[in-house]
């Protein structure tokens, strides 16, 4: 158990160190980096990705993935925008985000689980469908200059904390409790380790999978509420980069791409490191063209080191493939 805990802490400590070191380098390179305003900017830029990354952590943990998360955010954002235009109370519009995301998560879950299509293929297909949906719903023009009611809600403070900080803390707290202290967490990781074995152990595999997709959808919808509040705008390309950024941050955070191991804190650090690098590189005068190169190299470095140290559970691929074959044989 202690070794297990140590392993978990390793990656998070490494990422925290990464944040601190790059933060120091950037402060030396730019006098404007370590200012309250700029740190607040980094935090604000991280909001949506923190929420989407949380859902993605569960999905990767269960051995799934969803590459359509950005479009789910987009569709939810259009819903929120239309409601705001119709003059609905901002608080209700903000709630509409997670509700719409929840529904779309249900759609994704049905296609993946009941359609028996591998998650990456199914969500790639859904990505195309949702993108077309966004185009049709926007009708070629964008929602811009939305009523500022929702934006004003961002400034509301609870116990001195901005509402975004509170919501993110609550979301991470709730998922943490669910994963650590309820059977859901054990089921999730068991399925991620081996779906076949989990099924043999009597775990409700489908139920757990549906839950993971629906939670992820709701979190995308919640992110949409923050998106609309922050930018007051829904453009055609909304969220186009979010899925890949989320996968990068989650994997960076120590969640196994092959499932069976997750780290919520690692995801949070992964997101913050990504956003911090984007911000700091620009402030340090590095052309923005290089920014994806740096994050890409970082990802390769971390995963490469992991594979070399033998921590990446490559061996696990075989038994689960065997499980699939066995199941296919049984049917």
């Amino acid at each position: 158990m202690r070794a297990f805990l140590q392993r978990f802490c390793e990656r998070e400590a490494l990422l925290a160190l990464g944040c601190i070191v790059s933060g120091l380098v950037f402060s030396i390179r730019s006098p404007y980096f370590a200012t309250p305003d700029n740190l607040l900017t980094i935090a604000r830029n991280s909001t949506e990705l923190l929420l989407i990354g949380l859902g993605m952590t569960l999905l990767l943990g269960i051995g799934g993935i969803d590459v359509s998360v950005g479009s789910v955010l987009g569709l939810a954002a259009i819903g929120i925008g239309r409601l705001l235009e119709a003059g609905i109370t901002p608080a209700l519009a903000a709630l509409a985000g997670p509700v719409a995301g929840l529904a779309l998560g249900g759609v994704t879950a049905s296609v993946v689980i009941f359609g028996r299509i591998p998650a990456i293929v199914a969500t790639l297909g859904l990505l195309g469908v949702y993108r077309a949906g966004i185009f049709l719903a926007l009708g070629g023009s964008w929602l811009s200059g939305l009523p500022v009611g929702l934006t004003n809600l961002l400034a509301v403070r609870f116990f001195g904390l901005p509402v975004s900080v509170l919501v993110i803390a609550l979301a991470y707290g709730a998922v943490f409790v669910a994963v650590r202290f309820t059977p859901f967490g054990a089921h999730l990781l068991a399925i991620g380790n081996s779906e076949a074995k989990a099924r043999l152990a009597g775990i409700g595999v489908r139920r757990t999978q549906v839950a993971a997709f629906v939670i992820s959808g709701a979190l995308c919808g919640l992110a949409a509420s923050f998106y609309v509040a922050t930018y007051g705008n829904v453009e055609m390309t909304i969220g186009a980069t979010l899925a890949l950024e989320a996968v990068a941050a989650v994997v960076l955070g120590g969640t196994a791409v092959t499932g069976g191991r997750i780290s919520l804190l690692g995801t949070a650090f992964g997101v913050i490191l990504l956003r911090l690098l984007q911000n700091g590189l620009l402030l340090a005068g590095v052309p923005s063209l290089w920014q994806p190169v740096v994050t890409g190299l970082l990802l390769l470095l971390v995963l490469g080191a992991e594979a070399l140290s033998g921590r990446l559970p490559l061996g696990r691929l075989r038994p689960s493939a065997l499980g699939v074959a066995r199941r296919a044989g049984l049917r």
Binding site: G139, G140, S144, Y227, Y231, L283
Partner: protein
Amino acid sequence: MHTHSKVALLTAALLAVSSTLALAADKKVAFVPQIIGIPYFDAMKAGGEEAAAKFGLDFIYQGPVDTNPVDQMQIVQNLIDQGVNAVAVSVLDASSIAPVVEAAKAKHVTLFTSDSDAPKSGRALYVAQATDEGLGNAIIDEMVRRVGEYAKIGIVSGEATASNLNAWIGFMQARAKAKYPKLKLLEPQYAGGTAQRAAQIATDLMTANPDLKGLIGVASTTCPGVGQAIETAGKIGKVIGTGYCSPNTARAYLKSGSFGYSVLWDPKELGYLTVWAGEQLIDGKEIPATTTPEGMNHPVTYDAQTGVLLLGEPAVFTAQNVDNYKF
């Protein structure tokens, strides 16, 4: 029985021919957009209808429901078969249009391009909205008018691979160098396709350059990001935002003051000029090098060498005039 149906067919054919003849008095000009149902092409359609009413023409507007080049060519082919006199196309795929141009010539239909060109296709002429140089110059001139020559300006572009955006940036830099040597244009930053990333970059540029006076959003997707970033940073009035974006996209930011102006062209005028050009082509009239078509309030230029009919200087949208435009 057989004879009867043959007679019926013949009668129908005769009727069809005679009805075409009866309508032949009305010249038919068609315009095929890249996609229907979006405000930009709706505006071109409105301009085309206005010109058709003015010059007594039949105007047909048909286009694909998504930006599919094969569907577009099919629609153009159908219009040729229907026997329109001239058809204008906002070309989706320049490499695939040449056979349709041939088919049009065989049926004595004049095919020309508008809004998006296929220079090597053999089209009769191209109705161009604005030149890259005109757009680059206009955005810099308007900026200098507002912030003066001693200013630092940031540039937020979209994809680094977009040739039109890079051409505009190139002309901005050339204009600044030639006319405003004291103006400092920062290296362009590339935000990709999302407003979110554009807002991040715009914010970071303002943080890194506290003396920044202006921010130019080159891709239309970067405009909302730039506008929102200026609002969130509380820099309205201190930093002037602008970009190449439609009045609908820029409206909120023009009104809040985060945008000083926006530069583009007026697609309604472009549609008007397209139908006017169609009539000149049908009548076989030569277009002079400079002329002001009836119903327009500024001259257009025609280069017989390249076959480009240019709408003219780009339009500048501001808080005052933005509500006159609906695209």
